[in-house]
Amino acid sequence: MWTILSINSVTLGGLLFLLAAGFSLIFGLMRIPNLTHGSMFMLGAYFGVTLIGWGCNFWIASLGAGLGVALFGGIVERFVLRRLVGAELAQVLVTLGLSFMVADTCLMLWGGDPISVDTPAIGVGMTHLAGVAVPTYRLIIILIAVAIAAALWGLLDKTRLGAMIRAAVDDPAMARVCGIRVSHLFTIVFSLGAGLAGFAGVIGGPILSVYPGLDQDMLPLALVVVILGGSGSLLGSLVGSFVVGFLYNFGQAMFPELAYVILFLPMLIVLVIRPRGLFGRVTL
């Protein structure tokens, strides 16, 4: 029982990382609390369901959905958020308004019933690891999350683009003066974050299934991860995701009625003791 719970926690942590890494980067770089991020997750999941319904392979569908959501994110950034640079309150309200529109459109197009997603063939069954039977699909999710974490770290730490993003996070005005086109970075990072969230929505499908309200379930989790880990920090998102993954699963198993409250406790403690988050460089 403890092993199963732990495995589930790590899996949820992996999914949350895919969601929260983008959220955290967007917040760290653009100072936009992107309240559409949960919608991106749900939109990706629905795109994936449709692509699978057309006969696509699961993995191609997840990549396709990720790309589709990235494109949508790019359009939102370029044509809506770009108009509101610097007006933080306006950005909060616009992203909130967009999230309602996306949620209602999804309800209209895909209906109100939960849709279950079949586990892809490669992930069916159990894998035995050191005497413990682990559902193969969950193992795959964990591996994907680790791979993406490594790739993101490589992107941010080792490439020219990453150096530009880090410069823009630390001091956007100075980065502009140095000839970095910060507004291009905004579009890239926003699309990347949205795409990751959409991708996570599809690969999370076999575990969470897809239903209206998925966005409202995931957004607070991403918020907690970022408040806990600190905005703009990849390591913070990683640690925060796993903490939240464990709390959510163990909380639900032990105190089902209070699972939601337990989830927010560490966030409250961090806020009181260290408002910038565990690994954050700037105060919220």
Binding site: F27, R31, P33, L35, V80, R83, L84, A87, E88, L89, A90, V92, L93, V94, L96, G97, L98, S99, F100, M101, A103, D104, T105, M108, Q216, L219, P220, L223, V224, V226, I227, P256, E257, L258, A259, Y260, V261, L263, F264, M267, L268, L271, V272, P275, T283, L284
Partner: protein, 325 residues
């Protein structure tokens, strides 16, 4: 004419049940007043203190749930009112202490998270809140011996509360405390230098705002005789925020105009399309992109712009100055 306007408005409001005719419209008018009280309270925080919150439906909901629980336990209306408001104030104080750790965007994000905690409790803590089924109260209470069963009498009771709220807001805006709250919005560092405790000023503004949200919550419960997690959902907070923003933040009458707009729109739109949330989202986006300062000041600007295009030179400079925040 202008001097008599408040008097005319008051007479129109008091006599509304006689000239509006239908019970349905009287009920809508009562709803408008309930939400106007909520919006007035929210405006203290959003407009005057400059702290945008998306957790206010949580405070509103705490009052509903506390009062519903007390009523079902068989308590009288005075205990219900005091208990409901006390619960709201305690939760508001907790919200304030946590949310005021951040400012600006941090504040918004923390209030979203806190609002979702309240929603989570309402939805999942079934033994306390009856989960998704919500709590209903069987009879509309008779506070202080007043029978509120018919639409008109409930409307008048709501109107009294609304007028008291409006009076309190007018006093608040003119008071030194109101000036201090606006000071912490515009120049927190100067306020600190002048010896004001910025944190404490914001804290009291939060409590004041929460109190009126609680009052609105009580009215809402008495009106609907039912409360469910839907009442405390994020979209409810967003609706309340839309009222304040649509009407114009930091103005005394803006939130009232916003409440009228949102409630009437909601009822009218719901009659034709089932997609209220979509319309709500679209209004949000349109208002923010095209009339960021709110409908009332926005319309004034638009009117000036129209008149300015007739008399180009002098008026144009006025518009330019006005349109910059």
């Amino acid at each position: 004419m202008k001097r008599f306007f408040p008097l005319i408005a008051l007479i129109a409001l008091v006599t509304l049940p006689f000239w509006i005719g239908n019970t349905f419209y009287i009920n809508i008018a009562a709803q408008v007043l309930i939400y106007a009280v909520l919006a007035l309270g929210l405006n203290v925080l959003v407009g005057y203190a400059g702290l945008v919150t998306l957790g206010h439906a949580g405070l509103f909901g705490v009052a509903c749930y506390a009062a519903a629980t007390l009523i079902n336990a068989g308590h009288g209306s005075i205990i219900v009112a005091i208990g409901g408001l006390a619960a709201t104030l305690v939760v508001t104080a907790m919200f304030a202490v946590l949310a005021l750790r951040g400012t600006g965007l941090g504040f918004v994000m923390i209030t979203v998270a806190l609002g979702q905690i309240v929603w989570g409790i309402a939805y999942r803590w079934i033994s306390l809140t009856n989960g998704d089924n919500g709590i209903s109260i069987n009879v509309r209470p008779h506070p202080f011996g007043l029978a509120l069963d018919n639409a008109a009498s409930f409307y008048w009771a709501t109107l009294v509360v609304f007028l008291v709220a409006l009076g309190c807001m007018a006093v608040f805006v003119a008071s030194p405390f109101g000036a201090a709250v606006r000071g912490t919005r515009d120049q927190p560092r100067r306020m600190t230098a002048l010896g004001y405790n910025v944190w404490l000023t914001r804290f009291f503004a939060f409590l004041f705002s929460g109190f009126w949200s609680g009052v609105a919550g009580l009215l809402y419960l008495y009106y609907n005789q039912f409360v469910s997690p839907q009442t405390v959902a994020l979209s409810a907070s967003a609706e309340a925020l839309l009222m304040v923003i649509a009407g114009g933040t930091g103005t005394l009458f803006g939130p009232i105009a916003g409440a009228v707009l949102v409630v009437v729109m909601k009822d009218v739109v719901s009659a034709y399309v089932t997609r209220w949330n979509f319309v709500l989202g679209a209004i949000f986006v349109l208002i923010v992109v095209f009339m960021p300062e709110g409908l009332v000041p926005g319309s004034v600007r638009f009117w000036r712009w129209v008149t300015a295009s007739r008399r180009p030179r002098v008026a144009a400079t006025v518009v330019e100055r006005e349109s910059r925040p």
